[in-house]
Assembly symmetry: C2
Homo-oligomer: 463 residues x 2
């Protein structure tokens, strides 16, 4: 019994499973289930089938579901529709989804469709499409509720009731002057609590948080996060309100930016953030990864040359060659850790370029501790592994072990500092800190590591 309840309670959460058990209810579920759940279900069906089901629905339902499908499926469905169906669908879509779909359409499609739309929609689409990708303007929607400051609470609520059906949210209402400049905002909660005949201007919140159309979408998302907002108003340079960004957009923006950060950390290019892993063709994955990996392999030439230049040293003391990888790896690992922590702290706004010396000092302390521990381990490694190694006269294993351990310790400190400083410099010069982390960094500290390694060895062992 209880299980059964639970099952129906969350049935819309896994439509496929539910439909399998209750095929009779297929259509009602497709019509009533949460659009996101239906979209997920359709995405797993063979495309012709998914498109067939979507075509059987009315435009407003189509629009709801489409907005949860990824772009290429959206396009495929859209192109299957007749011109009239296309227009009907576009009119039902929310302005931001509509603009995104429109941007993805082939040029000739757009030209063919625009005349079929009313003046208002045409301009709305043109305007929303005009903002640069990644800006607040490009993610905002133009369906939002505004009221004038001299309305009473009762009038405002009545107004909201009228526009509710096609407004993205009615929980935040923005108070604007006759030139549509933002004066303040009221939440529906405040409207409901206010005396019916109180003027909006008497209880509205002044100085609302906002972003400019040209601000970075991540900045907008972080403001929504910081101030726990349901929606954030977007103003143009004249302080005129032109749109809102909603809490659900904020989560998607943050997830997408985070994917990009991680991929940059691992030197993976391309906005894989948008299309799911399995839907991305192998050669696209290849393109995204190859660029950096090849660049790193090229950079590897330098380490190759350095090793080459110390060939004589290696010839005279073969054992040094055996421990090159150990020094390289340890440097790479400690450097990557430092870089990761700093990149993340920058991304979360915990530190800025001004803190560079504080950061370097902290990383220096951390690296000293790591250097001691790792130095001892590597010393033990050499003493143990090479106890019966053939060592040329004039050299003692003990001295060699100390030389290697010392070199490794110095490398740990330098790699950590390099790992901390590179992201901060990238940040300082308007680059994304993440790109200089991990693989890129590993290759860089390999070079410094080898130089430190061989010179320390020569110095201590007097080769």
């Amino acid at each position: 019994m209880r299980v059964a309840e639970a099952k129906t309670l969350d049935k819309y959460d896994d439509i496929a499973a539910f439909l399998f058990e209750n095929p009779a209810q297929f259509l009602s579920v497709i019509r009533e289930a949460h659009p996101a759940a239906v979209a997920e279900y359709l995405a797993d069906l063979p495309q012709p089938e998914a498109i067939g089901i979507l075509k059987s629905l009315d435009p407003s339902r189509q629009a709801e579901i489409l907005s949860h499908l990824d772009e290429d499926l959206q396009l495929k469905v859209f192109q299957e529709l007749s011109r009239d169906e296309k227009v009907a669908l576009l009119l039902e879509m929310s302005p931001d989804d509509r603009a995104d779909l429109f941007k993805a359409l082939p040029e000739d499609y757009r030209e063919a469709l625009l005349p079929a739309l009313a003046q208002a929609e045409r301009e709305d689409i043109r305007r929303l499409c005009s903002y640069e990708e990644g800006t607040a303007g490009a993610v905002m929607t133009s369906d939002y509720a505004t009221i004038s400051p001299d309305m009473t609470a009762a009038e405002a609520i009545e107004h909201l009731r009228e526009i509710a059906p096609d407004s993205e949210t009615i929980y935040y209402t923005y108070v604007v002057d006759d030139q549509h400049r933002l004066l303040g905002f009221v939440s529906l909660r405040e409207l409901i609590l206010a005396p019916r005949d109180a003027k909006v201007s008497s209880f509205m919140k002044r100085d609302p948080i906002f972003v400019r159309v040209s601000d970075d979408q991540e900045e907008a998302a972080r403001k929504i996060q910081k101030y726990d907002l349901i929606a954030l108003p977007v103003l143009n340079e004249e302080d005129v309100m032109v749109g809102i960004i909603t809490h659900d957009d904020a989560i998607d923006i943050i997830t997408q930016e985070q994917t990009e950060d991680i991929e940059k950390l691992m030197a993976i290019g391309g906005a894989h953030g948008d299309t799911p892993y399995l839907k991305t063709p192998a050669w696209v994955h290849f393109k995204n990864r190859a660029t950096w990996i090849v660049a790193l392999a090229a950079l590897g030439f330098v380490s190759g040359m350095i090793i080459h230049s110390f060939e004589s040293t290696l010839m005279s003391l073969m054992i040094l060659a055996l421990y090159m990888p150990m020094v390289a790896d340890t440097g790479g690992n400690t450097g990557s850790q430092a870089a990761t922590v700093v990149v993340r702290a920058l991304a979360l706004g915990e530190i800025s370029y001004e803190d560079i010396f504080k950061v370097l000092f902290k990383e220096f302390k951390v690296s000293l501790m790591l250097a001691v521990v790792l130095g001892l381990i590597s010393w033990g490694k050499v003493m143990f592994l090479s106890q019966d190694a053939s060592i040329p006269d004039g050299f003692s294993l003990g001295a060699i072990a100390i030389a290697i351990a010392l070199a490794l310790s110095i490398q740990v400190v330098s790699a950590t500092l390099v790992g901390a400083v590179l992201p901060m410099l990238a940040h300082r010069f308007g680059q994304d800190p993440a790109v200089v982390a991990s693989p890129a960094l590993t290759t860089v500290v390999d070079i410094t590591g080898l130089i430190i390694y061989f010179n320390t060895a020569k110095l201590i062992l007097g080769i």
Copy 2:
């Protein structure tokens, strides 16, 4: 003029700057600005000053601001208050923030405070504190609006107006039966649009999306994201509603989980996610990083032994030693990339363990392409760098270059597959995929890489 407007429009966005220009308005700003902005401002002040300002505010304002401060500052402030002030503050805090603060208090404090609280609050705190960290139960709040299915729309709105002041959100209202089991939900938008005397049961949404108290907090956050929810109901095993998780919690959860993922990718332990970088003492950073790095250094023994076991091969063909680091690095880089992409796809729910063969096949195709490109580069590297190297009789540079290039290509393929499969296995066995990525992986594929390297060389060159 316009600039001035803009300035005041977003003044609460940077209080420090604003107060610097308008010191006279200090108190009014501290009292009226967005609590998150005030919290940010206080966090940068010397602690005694910050605490002094907070103490000067009334409990409800204190509670608002406190919820935006990080935990250790919250505790410091709290301990500065008199017992009565403490109680007053606790009563004003939202249940989830209150429970979190309570959990952080020293044992004796809690015992001393509990009796001063009313029965209801005591039980609420005990209950919220009872859920395991990281579960939906531990992040939910118990301030939410419920109505009965036979209320009319008008009655429901009237009810909401009454409870609005101390309910986390009134925009989603949950319909429960007499045993408080979840039957459905209505949004305030629907309530406002519904005919005044329509019964809630006639227009409420049935089968709402929900999570169980024991579900992972990230699952809850992802549902809020997937279904664009403002709040998500939390049920116990008896389908009784016990709390809600709100959209702003979802963003914080996703950001926090993200930080943990990235740090795991880089083999950094500890929940650094909570305390900001600079506020975390160096030795804590050290602890967080050392564990893994030391483990990896220990694991490095294995690679050391392998190199050691091939010492004779290296002796007879010194040149092989020079290119060990190149093979190790390339394998580490390609492997980390594969692992990163897979870890991310798992985190976003794009793939699950069932897809392992699809994933392996895709990664295989990607790695073949990478292998060809990187193999050619490494061949060129050897031919160029070692053109004048002293090569023992019976060996040709060409053959050696081919052997090294081939070994590297095989290593790229194997490292990529290992990088893809390890996170999926970790996921399959309930471990966090991220922990087996990057540094950990690098060290693992170093081992496979060396074995591939030396055996390929021996095979091709017949050493």
